[in-house]
Structures are given as C-alpha cells and as structure tokens.
Amino acid sequence: MRSTVMIAAFIAAAGLPFATFAQTRCAEGRTTGGQCVDEQLAASTRQTAIIFSQSKISHTAFPVLPSQDARYRYPNELIPNPLPPAGTGTPAAN
C-alpha cells in the first residue's frame, strides 16, 4: 500500500509539470524571444540535415517513409555508386 501511494505521488509530481507545460508547448521548441518555431520548417530542415549527413548510410533507401522518397531521395541520385560491374577491359595482345 505504501509503495502504491509513493508511486502515485511520484506520478502526480511528474505529471503536473507536463500538464502545465502542455498548455504552452511548442511542437518544435521556441526562439530566444519565446515564439513557437514553425513546426514544418523545423522538422524539414532537421530531416534534410540528417539525410545529407548520412548520404551513404544505405544504397537502398534513406530512413524516411516511402511516400517521402521523392522529397528526400535526390542525394542518392547525385552520388554514384562506385561499385557497379564496370567494363575495365582486357590488356590488348602485343
């Protein structure tokens, strides 16, 4: 019983600031002046920066939903795979 009360008190204490914060929260944080940051813009620049910083994480796909491939796949189109079968030729007979 005592442990149940302690857990409940902890949860209440932990939950209260969350609930208070929820009234004024911004989905992507705030500027130094306290304004909410543009949610889509912040998420988009972060996602782009992560993909550019990991442009060779996989030749198959970047870690995005398939529906977003058209939006984020272009680094792959710009970086050629250096390991396809290549016609290196055979030394010519003298």
Partner: protein, 430 residues
C-alpha cells in the same frame, strides 16, 4: 489510490504533455494534427519500373538492344512522439522486397530478394529557447543480397532507369549530432555532423572485368564517411525556401584487403523553393541540386600506394525538379518533372577512364488522396528519357591509365533509353 488509477493519471498527463503530433505530412501543407502522445504511421508502396534502350546495362558488354523491369515494394513503420514534454522522439524502420530482371541479349538475369533494412532514431530536445539540439542514429542492416552469383549479377541495372541497383551491402551505422537554431519563428539555421561506419560485405567480382573467368566472392570494405551539413530554412506567407550544403570526406575502400580507392572530397548543394496558395493556385515546388567531387586516389598498376589520379574521374551532377499540385477536395494532383545532367569527367574520351555526359528527363503525374485524417493514398506515374554520349575506341582499344597500356574495350555509340515508373501506396496513421 490504486496503482492502476495512478498509471492512468500518468498516462493522461503524458498525453496532455505530448499534445498534437504532425499528421498527413506527406500531403501539401500537411498541417493536420492529431491529439495523441504517440503517432504510429504504417506505409507501403508498390513500384513498377520498365525500360528499354539501344543498349543494356552496362552498355559496353553487349551490343544488343536492352530492356528490363523491376518491382520494388518498400514498407515502413514510423513512431513519433514526446515521451517527455521537452523531448521529441522519432523512430523509423524500413524494409522492402525487390524483383529485378534484365532481358538484354547476352546480359539477361534476374534476382528476387528482400532489400537491406534501414532503421533510425532521432531525439530532439526542446527545453532551451533559441536552440534545439538533436541526436540521430541510423543503421543499414544487411538483410538483402550483396553477392549476385551467375547471371543474377546482370540484374544490376542503370540507377537512372530503376530505383534499386544495389541489392545489399554490409552493416552501416551512422550517428549524427546537430541543432536547429531558430533566428526567428520562420527562419531556421540547422547544422549537423555525421559519421558513417560502413561494414565489409562480400560480393561477386565483376562479370566483365576478365571475360570468361568464373565468378568468385570478393570482400569489399567500403570507406567510412564524415559529413558536415548546413541548412537554412525560411518561410514567409505562401513562400518557403530551403538551402542545404554539405561536404564529405571518405576513407579508403579496400577490396580483399587491398586498398582500391579513396573517393575525393564531395560537395553537395541543394535549394528548394515552394509557393503555396491552395485556394487560387495550389502548391508549386522547385528543387535544384548540384554535386562535385575532387579527384580520387586510385590504385595504379605497379604502384605500392594509392595515388591521386591525374584527372578527375568524377563528373559534376546537376538536377532540377518541378512539381505543381492542385487540391480538388480531398485529392491533390498535378504534374511533376525533373532533369538531371551529368557532365563528362576530365578524362579524354579516348581513355578507359572517360565517363561520358548523360542526361535524364522525367515527366509525369502525382496524385495524393486523403481518405480520412489518418489514411492517405499516393500515386505517381512518370515517363523517363535517358541519353548517354558515345564512348570512342579506335580498333576496339582504349588507353587505361591504371594498366598504363591500351586495352580491349569496344566503342559504345550514343545510348538512348526510355522507361516508365509507376508507384502507388498508402500511409495509415494510428
């Protein structure tokens, strides 16, 4: 108070703290939100590629006309939420299945396999006004097939015509550190640095390196990559713009324990401009990208170490993309198109190291339909035109700077290919 009640209160508090999570992000505007602490999105597509051309892939192996098809089915699960009011967490796992078939005479082959699996997790701390630091960890899990033995190797086709041209590689792990710096609510500077550890994997040796020689496994240890990225995002009224630039440095790639090459420093730049006026105009998005790489270090015949190549084997690549979507009720649709140009590299066209110029055009239609706040469908159909300049070879020989000798290599005329790319899929949010 019962423990169960406490947990329910806690869960309710968490839900309030987490608040709305972006939904329908794949739709233009994407402003719809759902009030849930965690948002789970399941997504999949079926993509079909079909092409034909005056040559197969690679173009120098067979002089017969080429053709091929590919079916690629990616699927993914994404979890986005705020387990703490000041921490945003994004998790994603993505796999897929692919079947590829090339039907070129002398180059026919097919492969069916699961693709590699990609996983990632990103945590963004929102508790400091003026800066939002984030840490991300991505990984490639080798669930695909890196070695294609026998004729299956011929299923590797031109990546300008099909999406999957590499069917597997090794374990890759890539941490990224960065931050968003919102100078105003709609002007954001994002900086990040990532390191990609790329694990070794086996693959077959080249089918065409020494014609007639039986295939054997060879071990590839690809170079690791360090990349620094800077992105600027700005929006004002119906306009939004994004500029991204990165520089990458790569370590040496080895084959069977022997240094093979070290890619030159690579620069990427991308710009995106979007105009959104759904009531009168729709949404127009223009993308432009450019890539440049410095000279590679390569293995010259007889040299004990890698040497910087005398000319640059890397071509510059330029890409433009334009899309315009118009809302018709819950349906968004419109045209899409792109142009990609790869200029020929610095090597003389009579050397084996010459990579000829190449152009790729695409035009098609995109449609997205929001069946509800939680279900969207996507459809994309594009026609593709590819043209690669000729490769010269007098008497069937070209000069190889690596062999320091003339080697047999047939001339390849201009290669023209056309293809269709059709994709349809869905996103379901829970």
């Amino acid at each position: 108070m019962r423990l169960g009640t406490g947990i329910k209160l806690f869960a309710a508090g968490m839900a309030m703290a987490a608040g709305p999570v972006a939904a329908r992000a794949d739709l233009p505007g994407g402003a719809a939100t759902v009030n849930a602490p965690w948002s789970i999105t399941m997504a999949s597509e079926v993509r079909y590629y079909s092409w034909k051309g005056t040559r197969g892939s690679p173009a120098g192996v067979s002089s017969e006309r080429g053709s091929g098809t590919q079916i690629y089915v990616p699927y993914a699960l994404q979890l986005v939420g705020m387990p703490h009011g000041l921490l945003k967490v994004e998790l994603l796992g993505r796999g897929g299945w692919v079947r590829a078939r090339q039907s070129t005479g002398g180059l026919s082959g097919d492969v069916s396999t699961a693709t590699d699996t990609v996983v990632s997790g990103t945590a963004t701390y929102l508790g400091v006004n003026g800066i939002q630091p984030f840490v991300s960890l991505s990984a490639n899990l080798p669930t695909g097939k890196s070695a294609l033995m026998g004729s299956a190797a011929n299923a590797r086709m031109d990546p300008d015509l099909v999406e999957i041209s590499t069917f597997g590689e090794g374990w890759n792990v890539g941490p990224t550190l960065g931050f968003n710096l919102p100078l105003t609510s709609s002007f954001i500077v994002t900086a990040s640095a990532g390191y990609t550890w790329r694990g070794a994997f086996n693959r077959e040796n080249s089918l065409v390196a020494v014609p007639g020689t039986a295939q054997s496994l060879t071990s590839i240890d690809p170079g690791d990559v360090f990349t620094a990225t800077l992105a600027l995002g700005y929006s004002a009224g119906p306009w939004s713009a994004k500029l991204t630039a990165s520089v990458s440095e790569e370590t040496t790639t080895a084959e069977s324990g022997v240094a093979l090459y070290k890619a030159g420093r690579r620069y990427l730049a991308h710009a995106s401009l979007s105009y959104s006026q759904p009531e009168f105009w729709g949404v127009t998005t223009l993308n432009a990208s450019i890539a440049h790489s410095n000279r590679n270090q390569v293995r010259y015949a007889g040299a004990p170490d890698l040497l910087t190549e005398t000319l640059n084997a890397n071509a510059n690549v330029y890409r433009l993309g334009l899309e315009h979507l118009v809302p018709v009720g819950a349906l968004w649709l419109g045209p899409t198109g792109s142009y990609l140009h790869r200029d020929n590299n610095s090597y003389n066209s009579m050397t084996l190291q010459n990579v000829p110029a190449k152009d790729r055009y695409s035009a098609g239609l995109v449609a997205r339909y929001a069946a509800s706040d939680t279900v969207t469908f996507n459809l994309r159909a594009e026609h593709v035109w590819v043209r690669e300049n000729e490769r010269l070879a007098i008497n069937g020989q070209q000069f190889s700077v690596y062999a320091d000798a003339f080697v047999l290599s047939p001339a390849v005329p201009v290669v023209s290919s056309t293809g269709w790319q059709i994709a349809g899929g869905f996103n379901i949010k829970f």
